[in-house]
Symmetry: C2
Subunit: 90 residues, 2 copies
């Protein structure tokens, strides 16, 4: 699990469409599909359901979505405060 995967997951959870998600991520569908599969394997948890009707979040996927957003926000905040500290703006 890394931040890149978290970003990919959040965008896919928002779009529920691999093509559109990949477009927003400036990449193509195949590597996105593989990255999500790999994330699910790493977690040992299925995050999406794929069937005829399309892509949907599982319950665990919904839980992970909140966590992923929190982590991404936290990462951005970490950069911010660290850079501010480096410039003496404390």
């Amino acid at each position: 699990m890394d931040f890149r995967q978290l970003r990919q997951f959040v965008v896919l959870a928002d779009e529920l469409n691999y093509r559109k998600a990949a477009e927003r991520l400036n990449m193509t569908q195949p590597p996105l599909s593989i990255a999500i599969k790999r994330l699910e394997a790493d977690l040992g948890v299925q995050l999406f359901e794929r069937d005829r009707l399309g892509v949907r979040l599982t319950m665990a996927g919904g839980v992970f979505l909140g966590e992923a957003r929190r982590l991404l926000d936290g990462a951005q905040a970490a950069l911010q405060v660290t850079r501010d500290a480096a410039q003496g703006r404390i």
Copy 2:
């Protein structure tokens, strides 16, 4: 910035010694040295001071240490709650 770098940074900040930190991380000094340099470059912030006396955290490094610990704890918590959710333990 990724979680692997955060783990390496936190251990090095704890040990203030590349050899010992690398040992705890089950790796060798050279890749650790490079990974930390890369992290500093990514952030645009110097996290450690190296001089005759050894390795010390900069002020910004101290700030980042708190953030890194929070992010790593958050990642672990995210795994936990997601796996629990997947097993219906909500």
